[in-house]
């Protein structure tokens, strides 16, 4: 994981009490998003409207926001699924739009949907995606076994995914996103609608991945999760970042907020977002 990093953007002004998680004592920018705009169709409001942020190597970066804030859209652009309307995304210094093929080797995605084949077993699903990553033979089997172990699905690996519970499906979804050991893992609401045990297990797995050096970009609307997992968060609404920083600092900088949830409601308003 030693790669040269091109840092071409303006230096991000660090928050006063921001304490970067140091990996080997150096801070390297893995993800750089600059003035990112994405509109679906002509006219209308852009779903992502001038997003700018950096993510350092080894960080767990949280993108928080109510429904329709533009989190999925932003992740889709960063993962080469959508072309930006304007602005740029660099992953490990590589322009995502110019060289999607190279970027895809570096990233992993845990999408919002359970992106697995329901009729295949957990292991068959992982094997298929691992082979598409170019893994084979013993290495492939090892990676698949490691991924299954990380999400505690070894015992159910040979059951079809459609027989899994919601929590098991979410865990398998996570396994499929990380089995190729990506440099940066994008997670789009990976814990939505599941049991407390599975959610805990997923958050635990993510901490382990982070300790192993994987950079995480994580969207959620569960504030306590973000507070637990992320060293830095950005709160989005209407396609823009309205606050960014270390959770503790953000809460401290706002009067009358005891936790991230209260801060979030203050910032985004308490009206319903039914998208």
């Amino acid at each position: 994981m030693n790669s040269t990093v091109v840092h071409s953007g303006p230096p991000a002004d660090p928050l006063p009490d921001f304490q970067p998680l140091a990996v080997d004592g150096c801070e390297a920018v893995v993800l750089q998003v600059q003035q990112l705009v994405k509109s679906y169709g002509r006219g209308g409001r852009p779903a992502v409207d001038g997003l700018t942020f950096d993510v350092q190597e080894g960080e767990a970066f949280g993108l928080l926001g109510p429904n329709g804030a533009g989190k999925t859209t932003a992740i889709s652009v960063m993962c080469t699924l959508l072309r930006p309307t304007a602005g740029s995304v660099h992953l490990d210094g590589i322009d995502v739009q110019a060289e999607p093929g190279r970027v895809r080797r570096l990233l992993g995605l845990v999408p919002q949907e359970i992106a697995l084949y329901p009729r295949l077993t957990g292991r068959e699903n992982l094997r298929y995606f691992a082979r598409l990553y170019g893994l084979k033979g013993l290495e492939l089997e090892e990676r698949v076994a490691d991924a299954l172990e990380l999400v505690q699905l070894q015992e159910h690996a040979d059951r079809p995914v459609n027989s899994y519970s919601g929590g098991m499906k979410r865990r398998a979804n996570l396994a499929a996103g990380m089995l190729h050991q990506p440099r940066i893992l994008f997670l789009d609401e990976p814990t939505v609608g599941i049991d407390a045990q599975s959610r805990n297990l997923i958050l635990d797995s993510l901490s382990r991945l982070r300790q192993a050096g994987t950079t995480l970009v994580y969207t959620t609307h569960y504030m306590e999760e973000a507070q637990q997992l992320c060293n830095r968060v950005a709160i989005m609404d209407g396609g823009r970042i309205i606050a960014e920083g270390e959770p503790a600092a953000l809460i401290a900088g706002r009067a009358g907020c005891a936790n991230l949830e209260q801060l979030f409601l203050q910032l985004t308003g308490s009206h319903l977002r039914d998208d």
């Binding site: 679906y40 169709g41 859209t73 889709s76 993962c79 080469t80 699924l81 959508l82 072309r83 093929g101 895809r104 080797r105 990233l107 992993g108 995605l109 999408p111 919002q112 949907e113 359970i114 992106a115 697995l116 084949y117 329901p118 009729r119 295949l120 068959e124 298929y128 995606f129 082979r131 598409l132 990553y133 170019g134 084979k136 079809p160 499929a176 996103g177």
Partner: protein, 438 residues
């Protein structure tokens, strides 16, 4: 390459787990071919469809007229006569070969005379007794019936049996007339030579004459190459329903594609460092293999199961290479169509609707259910646009008309072009959807 092979294996695994899909692909066409082959045995009797038959009367005699009247009375056939410009046998044969008619009955010149002389000869011989020295027999008069080689067995049997029925009646009548005329003469000749009383010798009759035909019906296939092998209902139905089954791959295939899109696996695939073309090729290869399996299975049914139910065994000619090439082209065409439907529709219900309706319509137009020649002229023209018609035509060419790789190339290229067009349209649809971000 790994993307191709991994996808190929994954798709086969998915199909293996899809019981309903497998039933649809393998059991449905097999059941259809069994049922339809058996039902068509009685098609004419039950439906009362009058088959158009071109009638050429080169004789013009009394017998020819009675023959046509007899056929007309039966009602099973619609006789078509060209009154203004009478056709000869060659022209009739050409009309059948060219596809204008499926049948032509030719009454040869001098038929009335020939039948009369032959009947008289037979009667005379039989009255002369067993021992009498026979004069050389006169030739049996012949009626020629020309067939389109693709005509199904049931239709052919109907035309022939109608004709044989009328001919038998004519024959019996003609023989009886001659006998009625000769018998009294013969008795008179015998009577004076004998005294009255018992023991009057009766005229010695040999009944040999009764079974001897005076008029024969000769079936002939109107073939350019002079081949006389006749097609069977099985030869029509097996490739027809095999193609139908292959195109039904549209249901499971479009379903898989749709599910990939809806469940987000396509999204995941699109973030992987693998060429989308490799994945597409893997899918195509898997489904083409399934289609070829279906085709092989249907040939097996035609060879082994259908004969058990009393139909003739499936004959497939002598060009296995050409059969494989044509089947491969059809499999590609079917797969291309499935991918196109999968790329364009928005829901599983839509895929099932669009897919099955399109296949059933294309099959009906293509002559799968009802042979093209029974259709009205306008429909026959439209049937040229059905890929199933191209496939069926090609297989009938190989199975029945003695065709080879060269002669099925136009049909095969049609199918391959269909594959190329559908796949291109599907690709355009895929790219547009990606651009829209949906």
């Amino acid at each position: 390459m790994s993307g191709f092979f991994a996808t190929f294996c994954k798709e086969l695994l998915l199909i293996r787990r899809d019981r309903a899909g497998l039933m649809l692909l393998f059991i449905m066409p097999a059941v259809l071919v069994l049922v339809v082959s058996l039902v068509q045995n009685n098609l004419l009797e039950t439906s009362g469809t009058a088959v158009p038959v071109l009638l050429v009367d080169e004789d013009g005699g009394e017998l020819a007229k009675r023959l046509t009247d007899g056929l007309q009375e039966l009602g099973a056939l619609t006789l078509v006569r060209q009154d203004g410009d009478p056709l000869d046998a060659t022209a009739a044969q050409d009309a059948v070969r060219g596809g204008d008619y499926q049948f032509a009955i030719v009454i040869p010149p001098g038929l009335t005379e020939e039948v009369r002389s032959r009947a008289r000869q037979l009667a005379e011989q039989s009255l002369a007794g067993e021992g009498a020295a026979a004069e050389p027999p006169l030739a049996t008069a012949e009626l020629a019936v020309y067939f389109d080689p693709t005509v199904q067995g049931a239709f052919r049997t109907a035309v022939l049996s109608s004709l044989r029925l009328v001919v038998l009646g004519l024959e019996t009548e003609e023989k009886g007339k001659v006998l009625a005329e000769l018998l009294p003469q013969r008795i008179e000749k015998l009577l004076p030579a004998l005294p009255f009383g018992f023991g009057t010798p009766r005229p010695q009759l040999s009944f040999h004459w009764n079974s001897e035909p005076v008029l024969a019906v000769r079936e002939q296939v109107a073939l350019a190459g002079g081949l006389t092998k006749l097609p069977t209902a099985v030869q029509q139905n097996v490739p027809a329903w095999a193609l139908f089954g292959m195109f039904f791959i549209v249901i499971p295939l479009s379903g898989t594609l749709l599910r990939e899109r809806q469940e987000g696996t396509l999204q995941r695939l699109r973030t992987l460092p693998v060429s989308p073309l490799a994945i597409l090729a893997g899918k195509v290869a898997a489904y083409v293999l399934i289609c070829l399996g279906q085709f092989g299975f249907m040939l097996l049914v035609g060879k082994t199961v259908l004969p058990l139910l009393g139909t003739p065994m499936l004959e497939i000619g002598s060009e296995p290479g050409a059969i494989f090439f044509l089947a491969l082209s059809a499999a590609l065409a079917a797969t291309g169509f499935g991918i196109l439907v999968g790329a364009l529709v928005g829901s599983y219900e839509q895929a099932t609707m669009v897919g099955s309706v399109a296949v059933v319509v294309a099959a009906a137009l293509g002559g799968v259910m009802v042979p093209v020649y029974v259709m009205p002229q306008a429909m026959q023209a439209i049937s040229l646009f059905s890929p199933l018609a191209w496939g069926l035509n090609g297989f009938l060419d190989l199975f029945v008309r003695g065709g080879d790789l060269i002669s099925v190339l136009p049909n095969a290229f049609g199918l391959l072009a269909f594959f190329a067009v559908t796949l291109t349209l599907a690709w355009i649809g895929f790219l547009q959807r990606n651009r829209r971000g949906g």
